[in-house]
């Protein structure tokens, strides 16, 4: 393990000012060091605010280096890495590496319309027309952009939020979108 002093500071528990500074940071875990180096180069070329560090003790997968990154931009960063054939093994928040993305969906059937909520994002479709009629919730700046891009389009033709979104709100919308499609294909 490298940089043990750094790790003690970064991954200390409690609400110290340093841990608060870390609350909007995430960790990318890779299979091997070669992938970390390639990913670092790619993300630095994209001018993302990242740094290579040692992993916290809770992370038991991957190699002995991780990349710390702005968590809110997880969707765009993972998309960039995946396109470069460098998908991370895991992505977790720095301050709570054991947290998992939301996996509970709240479903509301209005009759003709069906609404699926994932975390803070809600997607509503017209079941008869298979058309997206509303998107609500969320607080990141890509939400109004995603809504403008998707509302009024059919499920088959709407852009995928995973392709055009940037933030964790976009990621939550992607999960709601996948759940709607899954339910419509049943």
């Amino acid at each position: 393990m490298i940089l043990p002093r750094f790790l003690k500071e970064i991954f200390s528990s409690g609400q110290s000012s340093e841990s608060i500074e870390q609350t909007d940071r995430g960790i990318l875990v890779f299979e091997n060091t070669s992938e970390v180096i390639q990913a670092e180069k790619l993300l630095k070329q994209g001018k993302w605010d990242i740094r290579v560090m040692g992993p916290p003790p809770e992370i038991r997968q991957g190699c002995d280096l991780i990349i710390e990154f702005p968590l809110i931009e997880e969707l765009q960063i993972v998309r960039t890495l995946t396109l470069a054939k460098l998908p991370p093994l895991r992505v977790v928040p720095v301050t709570s590496p054991l947290l998992q993305p939301v996996d509970i969906f709240q479903i509301r059937d209005f009759g003709r319309h069906l609404m699926v909520r994932a975390a803070n994002m809600k997607l509503t479709i017209d079941k008869e027309l298979s058309t997206i009629v509303n998107i609500s919730g969320g607080g990141c700046p890509d939400v109004p952009y995603l809504a403008a891009s998707m509302i009024g389009k059919s499920l088959a033709n709407a852009p995928n939020p995973g392709d055009i979104g940037h933030t964790l709100c976009g990621y939550a919308l992607q999960l709601a979108y996948e759940e709607v499609k899954r339910r419509c294909s049943l």
């Binding site: 947290l99 998992q100 607080g139 700046p141 890509d142 109004p144 809504a147 709100c169």
Partner: protein
């Protein structure tokens, strides 16, 4: 005066500031025209409608951002300077990329303002306030159910990582409100939007509004933005946070009711009904002498 800081969903929209008007269904700030839809434009349109009814005006700081955070960073930097030069009685922060170190820059300045403005946070800026551990600095947050679960989860850095046992539908809003206050992750007041709207403080539930009830409003994007716009203007107009919140919850629900919404209704349809709803709520109150 009320100032609103937020974003519009365009990557090439410049950073602008100015008094906000509504002309033929579009927002106007100086020479710039902005379509009204969910997000900060919906908040501003609802705020203008409320302000016009009460003969007030409002100021906005806006920048284009489609989620990359570039526009938000520009606006954070600009606000860090503008807040030291300008004097506002009320400030509402809205759709900004939640970035902790930028929030901390703003928060340091907000603490120095004398007299301290009434501070309202919603959407991404509310996320940043919670992530920074500084929620109690604010006078009002306006979360919906999903965002309340995030505030209640002391571990979650974003709603996307809210833990399942907190998100579970069996958790009742009052319990989540109490948990958010227990961990210092709520503003002095919370309006929680939902099937029933709640106003809460650290002391507990202060007010609830459940009627009129339009189930379709849960699916409509922007109904929270309009509520935040209405309450911001009412606070700026001199009501206490409690009075303003209670009134805004009633007005927003009544405007929704007048729209006769379906889950496919768009927020622009509802915004046109805000002046009538506001007149009706305030008129009824005057009749009752309350």
């Amino acid at each position: 005066m009320l100032a609103v800081a937020g974003t519009v969903p365009s990557s090439d929209f410049p950073l602008i500031e100015g008094t906000v008007l509504l002309r033929d269904g579009q927002l106007q700030i100086g020479k710039h025209f902005i379509d009204v839809n969910r997000g900060t434009p919906a908040l501003l349109a609802a705020a203008v409608k409320t302000a016009e009814t009460l003969n007030r005006s409002l100021f906005a700081y806006l920048v284009g951002d489609t989620g990359t955070g570039k526009g938000s960073r520009k606006l954070y930097a600009y606000m860090a300077d503008a807040l030291t030069r300008m004097r506002f009685e009320t400030i509402a922060f809205h759709y900004l990329q939640p970035i902790v170190h930028w929030h901390k820059r703003i928060q340091v300045i907000l603490r120095t303002l004398t007299p301290k403005p009434t501070l309202i946070a919603d959407a991404g800026f509310m996320y940043a306030a919670k992530m920074s551990g500084e929620a109690p600095l604010y006078d009002l947050f306006t979360p919906d159910a999903g965002e309340l679960a995030f505030l209640a989860d002391e571990e979650a850095p974003h709603p996307f990582y809210t833990r399942g046992f907190i998100l579970h539908e069996e958790n009742q809003v009052p319990d989540l409100i109490a948990r958010a206050y227990r961990h210092g992750n709520a503003a002095r007041h919370l309006i929680v939007k939902g099937a029933k709207d709640y106003l809460a403080s650290e002391e507990g539930i202060l007010e609830t509004v459940a009627h009129p009830s339009e189930e379709a409003m849960e699916a409509m994007g922007g109904t929270g933005d309009t509520l935040t716009g209405i309450v911001s203007v009412l606070i700026d107009g001199g009501m206490t946070v409690r009075e303003a919140a209670f009134t805004a919850m009633q007005v927003n629900r009544l405007a929704g009711h007048y729209t006769r919404p379906s889950p496919a209704t768009q927020i622009t349809d509802m915004i046109t009904h805000i002046p009538q709803a506001l007149r009706d709520v305030l008129g009824q109150r005057n009749q009752n002498g309350t």
